[in-house]
Symmetry: C2
Subunit: 358 residues, 2 copies
C-alpha cells in the first residue's frame, strides 16, 4: 500500500461529488473516486467519467477513479487494501424522488444496503471517519422555520428516497453509539444549484430534470418549452413555493470544512449540519433571476400543486457557521449566472454527442 493517504469519495462523478473533489484537490487533499456510472456519463467503460476528466482539467491533478458499486463488498474491500483511506465522503445513492416511489426495493438496495456495506468495510479496515451526504428531505414537512438541526426527522418522509436518507442517518448514529472511535458528520443539504465558475462541470440530469433549476436552464437553452410551476396558491409572498437554494461551490466548500472538522482531535461521535443560505426564494423569483442571468425569456405555466410539496423550506445554518466556520457566500445571481454558463456551453450535459443513447 502507498504511504500517501486519500479521501475516498463515493458517487464522486455526480453533481455534488465532482464539485466537492475540486475543492478537496485545490486544498491539497488526494482523492480516490468510486462511481457505478448509473447517473454519470463516460464515453465508454474504459474511460473515466467525463465529469472526473474535467475535474482533472480544472485542477491539473490526476484523480484515480473506479467503476465500483458500493453494494459489492469484496471489491470495496480490495480498494481499501489498495489505498490508504483516511476518510470517506459518501455521496453514492439513487436520488430521483419519483422513481424511488416506482422502484423502492432498488432504492433501498442501493441506498441502505449499499451504505451499510460501505460502513462494514470501513469498520473492518479501521477507517472510521465519514461525511455523509444527507438532505433536508429528512425533516419532512417543516414544523417551524427556519429549520434547525433539532427539527424532528423521519416523520412525513413520504418517499423511499427521503426515507433512505433518514434511515442511513439513523444507522450512522447507531454506529457512533456502538463504537466511540467513529467520527461522522451528516450534512443536510437544502437545494444545491449553479455550477463551477469554469463552466466545465455542472448538473447533468438524465431524462426530464426532477429539480427546478436544471429544468429552467433547459427551457432557457431551448431544450424544453416552458417551466411548469406547481402551485401559485401557497401561503408565500407570490404564492409559489419557497426553497433555500445554495450554490454548488458553497456546498462543496461545506464538505471541505467538514473534513477539516473531522481532523479536529476534539471531534467525537456524530454531528449534523444544515448546509443552506438561510433565506428562501420563490419559484417565480428563480425564473426571473435566471431570465436575467441568461438574458432569455423563460416561459412558464401555473399548474396544480404537486402532492408532497410544502409551501416553504429554508435552513437555519447558524450551527455550520459557528462550528464549521462555513457560510454560503454566493448569491442567487451567482447561482443563475454560473448555471447558465454551464448549460449554454454544454446544452446536452457531458454527452457531447447527443446521438449516443444515455
Amino acid at each position: 500500500m502507498e504511504a500517501k493517504s486519500y479521501i475516498l469519495v463515493t458517487g464522486g462523478a455526480g453533481f455534488i461529488g465532482s464539485h466537492t473533489i475540486v475543492e478537496l484537490l485545490n486544498s491539497g487533499y488526494s482523492v480516490v473516486v468510486i462511481d457505478n456510472l448509473v447517473n454519470a456519463y463516460a464515453a465508454n467503460e474504459k474511460q473515466k467519467p467525463e465529469s472526473i476528466k474535467r475535474v482533472e482539467i480544472i485542477t491539473g491533478k490526476t484523480v484515480p477513479c473506479f467503476n465500483i458499486d458500493i453494494t459489492d463488498k469484496k471489491i470495496l474491500n480490495n480498494l481499501f487494501q489498495q489505498f490508504k483511506i483516511d476518510c470517506v465522503i459518501h455521496f453514492a445513492a439513487l436520488k430521483a424522488v419519483g422513481e424511488s416511489v416506482q422502484i423502492p426495493l432498488q432504492y433501498y438496495q442501493n441506498n441502505i444496503a449499499g451504505s451499510n456495506t460501505l460502513f462494514q468495510v470501513m469498520q473492518e479496515n479501521n477507517v472510521k471517519r465519514l461525511v455523509f451526504s444527507s438532505s433536508a428531505t429528512v425533516y419532512g414537512t417543516p414544523q417551524f422555520l427556519p429549520i434547525t438541526e433539532d427539527h424532528p426527522t423521519g416523520q412525513g418522509c413520504t418517499n423511499p428516497y427521503g426515507k433512505s436518507k433518514y434511515f442511513t442517518e439513523e444507522i450512522l448514529k447507531d454506529v457512533c453509539v456502538s463504537d466511540p472511535e467513529w467520527q461522522v458528520i451528516l450534512l443536510r443539504y437544502f437545494n444545491p444549484i449553479g455550477a463551477h465558475e469554469s463552466g466545465l462541470i455542472g448538473e447533468d440530469p438524465s431524462g426530464i430534470p426532477n429539480n427546478l433549476l436544471p429544468y429552467i436552464a433547459q427551457v432557457a437553452v431551448g431544450k424544453r418549452e416552458k417551466v411548469n410551476v406547481f402551485g401559485a396558491d401557497y401561503d408565500t409572498p407570490d404564492g409559489t413555493g419557497v426553497r433555500d437554494y445554495i450554490h454548488i461551490t458553497d456546498l462543496a466548500i461545506g464538505h471541505l470544512k467538514a473534513v477539516l472538522k473531522l481532523n479536529d482531535a476534539n471531534f467525537q461521535g456524530c454531528e449534523v449540519y444544515n448546509l443552506g443560505t438561510g433565506r428562501g426564494y420563490s419559484v417565480l423569483e428563480m425564473i426571473k433571476a435566471f431570465s436575467k442571468a441568461s438574458q432569455k425569456e423563460i416561459k412558464y405555466e401555473i399548474c396544480k400543486r404537486r402532492e408532497g410539496d410544502v409551501a416553504s423550506s429554508y435552513a437555519d445554518a447558524t450551527k455550520a457557521r459557528k462550528e464549521l466556520d462555513w457560510i454560503a457566500t454566493r448569491d442567487i445571481n451567482d447561482m443563475c449566472f454560473d448555471a447558465w454558463r454551464w448549460q449554454s456551453a454544454n446544452p446536452s450535459g457531458y454527452d457531447q454527442n447527443p446521438s449516443i443513447a444515455r
Copy 2:
C-alpha cells in the same frame, strides 16, 4: 418444479417460526423452511435443526429445511426456482436488543439488507404475498394505552433491533404503493411466551435470556439463582413493569389467520395487526404465576430501572379480532404451565448434550 405449492417460512427454526409451522401443517399447508442456524440448534451441519425435527414428530409430516441466509440472493433465487412458493412468512432476523446496540451494522445487514434481498427475489419470481414478523417495539414509548395499530411508529425506537423492524415495515409499505399486486400483512407481536402443549418445542435462548419468561423458567429449573426485577417504582399497581404476554400457540394461530386473510380475494395492499391479549401483567404477577405453575419458589431481587424500559405496554387487539377472526384464548396460567413443561423436560433447550459448545 413441483405442482404442489408451499409457504416459505424464513427463520422457521426459531421460537415463533417453529410453532407457526406446526399450525400451518396441522391446517393442511405445505411448508418449506430456511434458517441460517445463527439462533437455532442443529446436531451438525447435515442435520435438520432440532426444532424442525420435533415439529415433524408433533405433526407426523416432513418439512423440507435448508441452511440458507436471506442475504444470499443467488441461493434464495434457486430456492424459488425449485419450490412453487405461494406465500412467505418472514421471521428471519437477529433479535437481541442489547446486542443490536453493540453491533448495529450486522443487525442492519441481516434484518434490513437481508429482508430487502428477500423481497427483491419475491418480486422477481412474482411471489407477492407476505406475512412479516414485526413487533410492538415499533411503537416506541406508548403515547396512549391500549396501543392501537394507529399509534405512531418509529419515534423513540431506541435500538437498532427495533429500528430494523420499523424500517422493514416502511419498506413493505413502499413496495405495496409501487405495485398493487403485493399483499402484505405486518404482525406486531407483544410478548410471546409459553410453549407448545406437547412440551417438545419452546423458547431456547442462547446465553443469558433477554426476555423475562425464559429467565424466570431458568431460575425455576435451577439454572440461575434469582430473577432481577428492573424497577419496582413504576406507575403500575405493584410498581413493576406491565406487559402484554401472549401464548406462543395463540401467536402462531395469528399467522395462520393472516395467511387465510391473504387468500381473501378482496385483500389488497398492506395491513397491520397487533397480536396481543389486550391485558397486561406485571413482572411480580408473572413470577407468582410461574411459581404456581412450576410449584417452585422463584427468588427475585428488585434492581434499578433499565434504560429504555417503559412502565406499561399492552395491545388493543380489536382489529385482529374483527378482520382476522383471531383472538388469544390461552391465559397466563396456560402460558406458565406450558413454558414450565417445556423447560423442565428440556433444561438445556434443544441441546441434549450441554457439553457441546453453542
